[in-house]
């Protein structure tokens, strides 16, 4: 139905743009990771594996990467624990208020990421809302200073930010479950718990996987929440990259770490796509 010319006109411009501004930059990142910095602070375009060797041998990088993954894993877990029951409630029990409550899940997403991180900073700080509240009601006498500038603050803030990201795909998956399957399960004598675990939950797994992927990947690469709320013990892998591209001036090493992150992220996306396919029915 569409002519060859039509197809060419719609295909070539976006293909060219994406090649120049996405594909080439990723390839450049790949190239940079094999280059090095001279003593005169210029980037030398000679190919070697030094950056990767440094990554393998310096525990700082490994430990920070593992800590970032551990933070991201906790964020993912908490987001799912908060998000799943809420999505389930929305889909099965919200009744006429379903639309309104759905909008209420979306609205926090429209509040700037930075603003929400900042809000947590004003809550958790030593003169913050929480500490002064606790002293006001005489629960504590001195401010609790582990609240801010800690991995706890980073996990809490990122959980707050990514919980809606897990709710929406889980809700979508639950909404796609034919209700007569649930009724059939009941009619055949299953208890509500059996119906949930044998029918509803397995069918919602694609949503869980999609939500978990979003939460994990996006929190793994975050560098603003750790800078704002993490303190020295909450530093994540992207913060190292930021400093390598800034004051520490070692773009090639920074590129190598970024490329490592890119590989981790793309493998996770690939894995989650496989999992979603495996668990989806229809």
């Amino acid at each position: 139905m569409f002519s060859r010319a039509y197809k060419t006109v719609v295909t070539v411009p976006p293909l060219a743009w994406v090649t120049v501004f996405l594909l080439v930059p990723y390839l450049l990142m790949f190239c940079y990771s094999f280059w090095s910095v001279s003593s005169a602070q210029t980037i030398v375009h000679s190919w070697n594996l030094d950056n990767y060797q440094e990554l393998l041998h310096k525990p700082l990088y490994w430990e920070t990467l593992l800590r970032s993954m551990w933070i991201a894993a906790r964020v993912t877990l908490f987001s799912l624990l908060l998000g799943y029951p809420l999505a389930y409630f929305l889909s099965f029990y919200a009744g006429k208020r379903k639309d309104l409550l759905y909008q209420m899940v979306i609205i926090p997403l429209w509040v700037s990421y930075l603003v929400r991180a900042y809000a947590w900073k004003t809550i958790l700080g030593s003169d913050g809302v929480l500490n002064t509240l606790l002293q006001y009601v005489h629960v504590t006498r001195h401010p609790l200073d582990f609240l801010l500038y800690s991995p706890f603050a980073v996990v809490l803030t990122l959980t707050h930010i990514y919980t809606p990201f897990t709710i929406l795909p889980i809700y979508a998956a639950l909404e796609h479950i034919p209700r007569n399957l649930v009724e059939a399960s009941h009619d055949l004598g299953a208890t509500p718990a059996q119906t949930f675990w044998k029918v509803i939950f397995p069918l919602s797994i694609p949503g869980v996987v999609a939500g978990a992927t979003f939460a994990f990947v996006l929190s793994l690469g975050d560098f603003l929440a750790p800078l704002l709320l993490g303190g020295p013990s909450g530093i994540m892998i992207s913060n190292i990259v930021v400093s390598l591209f800034g004051a520490a001036y070692n773009w090639p090493l920074g590129a190598a770490i970024s490329l490592g992150m890119l590989v981790i992220v793309v493998s996770l996306l690939f894995l989650s796509e496989r999992l979603e396919k495996k668990w989806s029915f229809s």
């Binding site: 743009w17 996405l22 990142m29 509040v111 795909p169």
Partner: protein
């Protein structure tokens, strides 16, 4: 009765725990926003319980604050320009994915959508390397290119979803009746995509206004609003930041209401942005 409306079988008892949980999660999601707004009126700084000396001073200060408004203006320019780029290429990319077969199509689809899920730092840094190597000076223009490119993913997803629901017979009829492709595109295809395009535009606009991770690396001399706020956060915090955040939040809320009205009036159409995070199945 209400249980039937919600589609739940009556056999499952309405769980009180689910209700408690849902309330608690909503409280968690809204607590920081409420506190943010509340303390924008607090005369005594950003913390401290209970808030007292309620005042509009921070708003007065905000409206007299030159650098903030300069950065708002910069952000608006960036958002409009990024919107134009992402929509233009997003519409074409969605049409290409829907209607053309070409080698590397699967790779193209993945590449276009990747910035949606990729941490902003990777998109930002890879573009920084491109601009550095080509000797492009960092400015608002480089941020526009960054946002425009990253948000093609949003436009493509929304518009592709719209195309899937489109009735091909209308376009076929238009072509059969002698309209050329150009006329058919403007008179049949585009009017049918009005809603997804408006939805994508609103979403791109808001995302660009809020974006910081990509802009962080591509910033030249002029700040966007989030980077201006970021700079101030590093220097020490005042409720003026709460005030500006509250104003932006109100504008975002207004955008949602407008979108919702449009959607309700035309009946149906997807939730804005919902396609972005639906499972792929």
């Amino acid at each position: 009765m209400e249980l039937f409306v919600s589609g739940a079988p009556t056999s499952i008892p309405r769980s009180r725990w689910l209700l408690v949980h849902a309330t608690a999660v909503f409280a968690f999601l809204y607590l920081p926003i409420v506190i943010l707004i509340l303390y924008s009126f607090n005369g005594q700084g950003v913390g401290g319980f209970p808030p007292h000396h309620l005042t509009f001073d921070w708003y007065r200060m905000l409206f007299a604050d030159g650098p903030i408004w300069d950065s708002v203006l910069n952000s608006l320019q960036v958002a409009f320009a990024a919107m134009a780029i992402s929509l233009a290429f997003g519409i074409l990319a969605a049409l290409a994915l829907d209607r053309a077969q070409f080698p590397g199509k699967a790779l193209f689809r993945r590449l276009v959508l990747l910035p949606l899920i990729l941490p902003g730092i990777i998109t930002g840094l890879s573009l920084l390397m491109l601009f550095n190597l080509t000797g492009t000076k960092l400015s608002l223009m480089t941020i526009v290119l960054g946002h425009g490119t990253a948000l093609i993913s949003v436009a493509t997803t929304e518009i592709f979803a719209g195309l899937q629901k489109l009735d091909r017979a209308q376009e076929e009829a238009s072509l059969d009746l002698g309209a050329n492709y150009w006329q058919t595109f403007w008179r049949v295809t585009m009017p049918n995509l009005k809603l997804p395009i408006i939805g994508a535009a609103l979403l791109i606009f808001t995302l660009s206004m809020d974006e910081i991770a990509v802009s962080f690396f591509l910033i030249g001399r002029d700040n966007t609003l989030p980077l201006e706020i970021w700079g101030r956060l590093r220097r020490g915090i005042t409720p003026e930041i709460n005030a500006v955040s509250t104003v932006i939040f109100m504008f975002s809320l207004l955008t949602i209401v407008i979108w919702y009205r449009l959607r309700v009036r035309s009946k149906g159409g997807a939730e804005v942005g919902a396609e972005l995070i639906e499972p792929t199945s």
